[in-house]
């Protein structure tokens, strides 16, 4: 509350009421310095983020091949209507949403449980912290290659373990029903450490007096966790959910390296589909249209998540 007040006061004194312009020479100088510091980043952001977005939006109404972009043909909204007319876009978005849902649903509870463990005084915390962070810092290419070997339907390590417990060989990446769950499992394994570290940071930022007060009032550990810790961590949870959702919607390496979108498009994640449309199918305009839709979808999902999971508690 006090921080908000300070900011409001500073804001009110630094700006002439109604005009938004600096009032004094010093304030003008501060504005110039601020603009100077921000300019390099803003220019790069403009050139490498927003300008390409505009070019992408423009390209989405053209039909052209990367082999001969000079022969681009204006097609209006045809690339967008093609997404409705043909089922590839719907299938790919559907697969991607399932993938994102699977990743988020598994990462959040597992990462939270790991964070609780890492925040406790139990032994081997350092070792566990290193273990769960290793997949996060390992290249996606290495992880995908390693999991391809693990999931080999004939000689993979996972099938070896299943055989020991009496379960027959599973097809995993070559099965339409098992390929996507296999990719979700791999991504959860890789991302759970990142989620755990974020939750751990949130847990360590909680004021100890609130849990202590709850305990003095007679709350059990479970009640403290459910009624105090989890509600107070809602901002962190929101952040982890949004980050994991965006990561999942942008996933490319698993589909590219492990399944090439197959079998039968069961793992045709949208970013891989966009790559495929542009570089293999030589439909760069259609790929741009898919990218525009993906951008809007990611924005919409993130905004919806922020609205639904908005923090109702402050400390």
């Amino acid at each position: 509350m006090s921080a908000t007040n300070t900011l409001s006061t500073a804001s009110a004194t630094s700006v002439k009421s109604g005009t938004g312009k600096p009032a004094t020479r010093r304030q003008k100088r501060d504005w110039i310095f601020a603009a100077g510091f921000l300019a390099p980043f803003m220019i790069l952001l403009l050139i490498f983020q927003y300008l390409p977005l505009l070019v992408m939006a423009r390209n989405s109404v053209y039909d052209y091949s990367l082999l001969n972009p000079a022969a681009a043909k204006f097609v209006g909204l045809r690339n967008f209507t093609d997404m409705i007319e043909y089922e590839d876009a719907a299938v790919s978005f559907g697969v991607t949403f399932l993938f994102a849902l699977g990743v988020v649903l598994f990462v959040i509870p597992v990462a939270f449980a790991l964070a609780l463990f890492l925040n406790s005084k139990l032994p081997a915390r350092g070792l566990v912290r290193t273990m769960i962070m290793l997949p996060v810092v390992t290249s996606s290419v290495v992880v995908a290659t390693m999991w391809s070997f693990l999931l080999d339907p004939s000689n993979g390590l996972i099938n070896g373990v299943l055989n020991i417990v009496g379960i027959g060989n599973q097809p995993f990446l070559t099965s339409t029903s098992q390929a996507l769950p296999a990719l979700i499992a791999m991504t959860v394994w890789q991302q759970v450490g990142f989620g755990a570290i974020l939750f751990l940071a949130g847990l360590q930022g909680l004021p100890a007096e609130l849990t202590e007060a709850a305990r003095i009032d007679g709350a059990t550990r479970r009640q403290v966790l459910w009624n105090v810790t989890i509600p107070l961590l809602s901002r962190t949870t929101l952040f982890v959910v949004v980050i994991m959702t965006v990561f999942s919607l942008q996933a490319f390496a698993p589909a590219f390296l492990m399944t090439q979108g197959g079998p039968q498009e069961s793992t045709n994640l949208i970013v891989y589909h966009i790559y495929n449309s542009a570089f293999i199918m030589q439909q760069a305009g259609y790929a741009s249209a898919l990218s525009v839709v993906l951008l809007l979808v990611v924005l919409a999902i993130s905004m919806a998540q922020m609205a639904l999971l908005r923090s109702r508690w402050n400390y």
Binding site: L66, P171, P263
Partner: protein, 435 residues
């Protein structure tokens, strides 16, 4: 003082000698015109090789080379990007079946007028078909490959199998399946020694058009009536490259694909994923590969081996193809680039390039010079190439066709329904062809 005079005299003499070019290098002395730099984009370890390039430079001393290399997996993407840039390469070494795509997109320069008069009679028909588009030749081709079936002689002998060695005795696929089953060791689907080993191409998974479209094509008949499904099955794409409707999803193709799918599923004689070096480590009895595998085994005979012709259903067929070389239409020096491309693929330069890697030449006149291809086992490749060789269905949208049909074939190998998958593939390919 004398020493000083002597020094200046020496300096003057040296300057005069240098000015006349008496001590200049041969190359610099011979180049009297403006120097031209040809930019070449190729894959590592691919032609044009240093020896023929250096020999060519002696005849063309004003030409220099700037070589850029990218891995084969990124070659098509790189060409897509660089071809449209303001400074495209002058010469590209690319995957041969893309010739028509690149020609249609205006990337390649037609080289028909630069070819020697004897070229037409000397070139393999499959190579010429693959590298021509709308009556013009866009690449002369340097080397050619095709696939045949290798076998581990120790394993086949132990199973009492004698694979045929000549085309006239070639197995049908059902006969080959019996051999796979007889030679395989261990349970179907998870043996210790596979009947048919995995491909070394791509990520080792089945389905590649180059290797696996021949199953259904061989169920067709090129001599049948053009409107018949047997004829369409064999060609797998309309002659003008604009229609695939009724070419992939035919009764003959589906029968062939049912058999193909059974190898990986019901019969369990072929793995669904790659196993590095399975054949060379005696983990597979049979194995389909190009002459590259034979060349490697001739140099380092890890196993006792032989080659048998590719089996078939009704019409024997093997796909041809290799990387090839072309001059770009937007080259700043198209005449020189075209001359270099044609020279590298003709006569002694062609021999120098082909002999480097051990693949087959595209010129019939060069075959006798490669002794290894004059007798069994490598002669099987030459015979197949000349008698059964067909390019992969050529068309200006080959890359897209290749990707979509490969996905469908892979799905069949993974247990999908051939009729559904081929109907879907036809729909998707036609969508691309119609755009």
């Amino acid at each position: 003082m004398n020493a000083c005079r002597l020094f200046f005299a020496g300096l003057l003499g040296a300057t005069a000698l240098y000015g006349t070019g008496a001590v200049a290098q041969d190359k610099a002395a011979a180049c009297t015109a403006e120097t031209v730099t040809l930019r070449i984009l190729r894959t590592p370890g691919n032609y044009p090789y240093p020896a023929p390039m250096e020999a060519w430079q002696k005849e063309n001393p004003c030409v220099k080379f700037e070589i850029n290399e990218v891995p084969f997996a990124q070659l098509a993407d790189t060409i897509s990007v660089q071809a449209a840039s303001s400074h495209p390469p002058d010469i590209i070494v690319y995957d041969g079946p893309n010739t028509q795509s690149y020609a249609a997109a205006g990337i390649l320069l037609p080289i028909t007028k630069y070819l020697p008069r004897e070229w037409d009679a000397d070139i393999l028909p499959a190579t010429k078909a693959e590298h021509s588009y709308e009556g013009e030749v866009y690449s002369p081709g340097i080397e050619q490959t095709t696939v045949a079936m290798y076998y581990n002689k120790t394993l086949t002998d132990a199973a009492g199998i004698k694979p045929p060695q000549e085309l006239k005795d070639a197995w049908t696929w059902p006969q080959a399946l019996e051999a796979f089953k007889a030679c395989q060791q261990g349970p179907a689907g998870a043996p210790t020694v596979w009947g048919l080993g995995p491909t070394r191409f791509g990520n080792g998974q089945p389905g590649l058009v180059y290797q696996d479209l021949i199953y259904q094509r061989s169920a067709g008949d090129p001599k049948a009536a053009p409107e018949s499904s047997a004829y369409k099955t064999f060609w797998a794409l309309s002659p003008d490259g604009k229609s695939v409707d009724g070419y992939l999803n035919t009764p003959e193709a589906i029968e062939g694909l049912k058999f193909y799918g059974s190898l990986f599923n019901k019969e369990g004689v072929a793995p669904k994923v790659g196993i590095p070096n399975a054949f060379f480590d005696s983990k597979a009895c049979f194995y389909i590969d190009t002459p590259a595998a034979g060349s490697a085994l001739l140099k380092d005979p890890k196993i006792e081996w032989g080659i048998t012709p590719i089996p078939y259903f009704k019409s024997p067929v093997v796909h041809t193809g290799s990387t090839t070389i072309g001059a770009t239409a937007r080259s700043k020096n198209p005449e020189i680039a075209a001359k270099f491309v044609v020279d590298m693929s003709w006569g002694e330069y062609a021999y120098m390039n082909v002999s480097q890697r051990g693949n087959l030449p595209t010129l019939k006149s060069l075959f006798p010079r490669f002794e290894v291809y004059n007798g069994y086992p490598m002669k099987v490749f030459v015979d197949q190439l000349q008698e059964w060789g067909q390019p992969r269905p050529p068309g200006p949208k080959f890359a897209q066709y290749d990707k979509l049909v490969t996905d469908a074939l892979r799905a069949v190998a993974f247990g999908g329904d051939p009729a559904d998958l081929m109907a879907d593939a036809e729909k998707k390919v036609q969508r691309v062809l119609d755009r």
